[in-house]
Amino acid sequence: MAIRVQRETFDVGAELASLTAGRSDIGAVTSFVGLVRDMAGDAAIGAMTLEHYPGMTEKQLAEIEAEAHRRWPLQATLIVHRYGRMEPGEPIVLCAAASAHREAAFAACHFLIDWLKTRAPFWKLEDTAAGPQWVSAKASDDEAARRWEQDR
């Protein structure tokens, strides 16, 4: 189990390689990578700045990760989330889950990102032609997270 909150970018390949390095009990690794897009709806985005709540962020990510381990048989998990300013195309977040078989790894990875999006205290500020705009929370994200409540 590992979580990291950092300003600098990350190398997805290197992160996944280190997750399984030296282990032969892992049969499946799934990952989700969230990237900065250059559009939000029909508005062009120049860059994005992520604010977070140091301390609570790490605490929430650790709780989300622990919950995934309670629900599925996982050999390893990783959450890396960035804060600060990012350009379109840059990675924001990586969630990865490793298990003996693919079903648990797929489900756990999906759960990690869905719960992270509604619980981890991060806020996106987008640079638009009309000036900086705080991103609004999406009802579809709440719906996605609720699905995992029903599945308990």
Partner: protein, 83 residues
Amino acid sequence: MKILWFAWLRTRVGTGEEIVEKPADIATVGALLDWLAARSPGHAQALARRDVVRVAVNQTYVPLDHAVSDGDEIAIFPPVTGG
């Protein structure tokens, strides 16, 4: 008591952190928000729509009827948008 403001609530209030002396009769998060809203027009604007305000006490999400005490770290912020 330490109050932390994040995202657009922070920009409305004008600061990310303030130390306040809570009146003794304020016992819950909901009462604290009402009291904070009266501190300045910016505070009132930040707290105008309670349905888009989330509160954490000592870094844990809490409901409006949660108890507050003098040594608490209270964070007030809009729904999160990370990931």
